[in-house]
Symmetry: C2
Subunit: 150 residues, 2 copies
DNA sequence: TTTAATGTAATGCTTGCAATTACGTTCTAT
DNA sequence: ATAGAACGTAATTGCAAGCATTACATTAAA
């Protein structure tokens, strides 16, 4: 199985908010158009990003969302954890009913759980080392190049 | 989402084959009982493990499966790749239709693809560094402890 | 008070996993 | 030869999750 696209959508949302800041306040319609999905999907993600303290949201006329902290203080792991509701240390799905009678089945969890945690942690550590501000810089770099060409 | 339990089942199968080697040749019924699933599930995994060159299978009376190489030559990444059919570099599911009109949407793939690959690779590198023989040793260690207690 | 925005409940569609039944195929032992 | 044991595989079902969509509730500014 794959990790859901909510993660890349979450990064996309925050990048939009930073790069298109002259269009603030951003709303779910604008972002949904950029992401290519429905506004309700975006609003659900707003809720999760807000919950994680990454954005603030304002209802009402001229409402919309805004970044809650400097983008240099946000890393990709935070976004991943905010939107991809995988409980801790369960990226790998263990088969549930190994036999307690078989000496191998009886010990599989004991033997494997630590290894699975370690594998998951290396993925998460890598994401943690990636800053949202770098993603934004790269995006702006490409936009600048494309504007020069045009 | 989670990575399917086929991975942990695959490790379980190979561990059974190594640890319970006095019961060879192993068959799908015995292993299905240890894993706690149906024999057809196990046979499908046999097919994938065979495809990956990890085991051999013999039909017919007194058939069954056997390890195709020394367990010290098998690492957990091989098992993962054998059974968890995630095409290369697609552990993360990217949202499919970012707008080409929006300067952010237009560049999301360019900016993110390399980062996602890198994150996936750290998970895979960690699995690659884990040997099946270590898993088997740990399992046998626990079995020995439990036999001493009894 | 109108309007624009988020929040959320309900529904449907699709996909993938796991389990199961049933049957086909192959090989050994007698 | 043939009976039986084993893998191989097709078809079906149940179930859960993701994503999309519609509809409506709530909020707040102009």
């Amino acid at each position: 199985m794959q990790i859901s696209s909510r993660f890349t959508m979450g990064v996309h949302i925050l990048t939009c908010m930073a790069v298109l800041k002259d269009q603030m306040p951003m709303n779910s319609d604008t972002i949904a158009a950029s992401v290519g999905t429905n506004r309700v999907i975006i609003r659900k993600l707003f809720g999760q990003l807000k919950e994680a303290g990454l954005i603030t949201a304002q209802r009402g006329n001229n409402g919309g969302v805004a970044l809650a902290k400097p983008v240099s203080d946000i890393n990709l792991l935070e976004i991943y954890k905010a939107v991809d509701s995988i409980p801790d240390n369960t990226l790998f799905h263990f088969h549930e009913n190994p036999s307690t009678l078989c000496p191998v089945g009886r010990n599989m969890h004991r033997v494997m759980d630590g290894r699975l945690e370690k594998a998951q942690k290396s993925l998460e550590d890598t994401l943690e080392g990636m800053s949202l501000s770098d993603v934004i810089n790269d995006t702006e770099h490409w936009i600048a190049l494309q504007e020069k060409e045009a």
